[in-house]
Every structure is written in C-alpha cells, then in structure tokens.
C-alpha cells in the first residue's frame, strides 16, 4: 500500500511517500495511524496528535473510522490551508 505525507507531516516523517505492507489487523484509518506511531521516533512525533491528521483514501477525504481495506493510496496531512 502506498502512503503519502504532506506539509509538516512530510517534514516530520522525513519522506514524501513510501510503500508498506500492513498487518492484517490494521483495518481503519485510526488503526493505520496507531500502527505508524510504533514505527520509530519520527513517526511518534509526526502522529503525536492524531486528531489533527486529515486523511484521504484513494484521493477522497475520509474520517478516521473509515475502513482502508483494498485502498491503493492513503495520504495523510495537516488541515488544508489553500485558497
């Protein structure tokens, strides 16, 4: 599964994207964030406030309780500040 990070989340994680193999019990966005937090200091720092993190599954905004089964691309980022 392809993961993308943007803005300060990208800076904290230290890379714009990566491919990961998720454990079978990672079923929702919230599960994914919890799993990512256990992958090292930079991830712990990046995801220290999960409620701030916005998520898009296959380029569509979703909530943290959304299932990610079958997703190809999951993007994580801070609240948008466009316009």
């Amino acid at each position: 599964m392809k993961l993308l990070y943007f803005a300060w989340l990208r800076e904290r994680v230290g890379k714009p994207e990566e491919n990961v193999d998720l454990p079978a019990d990672v079923a929702t966005v919230a599960d994914l964030i919890a799993w990512l937090k256990g992958r090292g200091e930079e991830f712990e720092y990046a995801f220290e406030a999960p409620e701030l993190i916005r998520v898009a599954v296959d380029r569509v905004h979703v909530e943290h309780d959304t299932a990610i089964t079958g997703a190809r691309e999951i993007a994580m980022f801070p609240p948008m500040t466009g316009g």
Binding site: T81, G82, G83
Partner: protein
C-alpha cells in the same frame, strides 16, 4: 457546461478566463469573480510556498464545483489554484461564477472559496524576510465556521 478546474504553477489571467466563460453568450447576466493574493504580513513575508497533493487537488476542487453546480443555476464556473513559491502580491487562486442573476453568481463564488480553503489539499509555508522559515500556516477556525452558512 463543465466547470474549468486547473492546478498550475503559472499565473492566471482574470480577463482571459472571464472571456472564455462569456464566449459571446447573451444569457449570462452576472459574473462574480474572486482573486486571492499573497499578503506580505506587514512586510515580514518574503515568499509563500504552496504545497499540494497533485493526484487529488483537481479531483477535490472538481467535486466542490459539482456541488456548486447542483446547488445554483450556473452558466459557467472556473476555479484555478496555483502552487509553488509565490511572492507577496502574487495571485494564488481565482474563482469565476457566471449566471443569469447576481445572487447565484455571488453565492457560488463564495461557496467555492469557502470550500477551497478547507477541502482542497493545499498547504502554505511562510518564508520570512529575515531568512528564517515562518512555519506552516495554521488552519483557521473562521474558515471552518464559514462552512456552516452552506449547510442546509
């Protein structure tokens, strides 16, 4: 008429984009436009860097545009959002809405801007004149509450 949605590094041309919407038509009675610019923040700012999610930005703005088109009787709709490093005074975003009457044009343009601010995957980083990075612009509560106006 399908909405025109573009994500680009280059500047845009309000007059040219308006003309494209008008295109010699005589059923359009009202054209409302909005242009957003980089503010220099009382002289502190040297540049504003706009990061975006290339795969999603155009899709998401297209979804917002489709909602605007289903809500108002529009005769044309254009939304252009820039990315990259912009200087104070540079234009960032353009929305134009065309309709028979002014209310639909104004409301659709304002709706587009309110949703662009909070839904389009763009992030702004400030670069300051003293050479430091001012950090990422934080999302404003005022932008979230602006959306309440559009809830039915």
């Amino acid at each position: 008429m399908p909405a025109t949605i573009r994500i680009q590094a280059e500047p845009f041309d309000l007059a040219a984009e308006s003309e494209k919407l008008l295109d010699g038509r005589a059923d359009i009675g009202a054209l409302a436009s909005f242009t957003g610019y980089v503010r220099d923040e009382d002289g502190r700012l040297s540049a504003l860097e706009l990061e975006h999610y290339p795969g999603m930005a155009e899709d998401e703005i297209g979804r917002v545009a489709a909602k605007a088109e289903s809500r108002w009787e529009l005769l044309g709709l254009t939304a252009i959002h820039r990315y990259g490093k912009l200087a104070p005074g540079d234009p960032i975003v353009l929305v134009i809405a065309a309709a028979s009457h002014r209310r639909a044009a104004f409301e659709a343009a304002e709706y587009m801007m309110d949703y662009l601010k909070t839904r389009a995957p763009f992030w702004k980083k400030e670069h300051l004149k003293d050479g430091t990075t001012g950090g990422w612009v934080e999302a404003k509560d005022a932008d979230d509450s602006a959306l309440l106006r559009w809830k039915e």
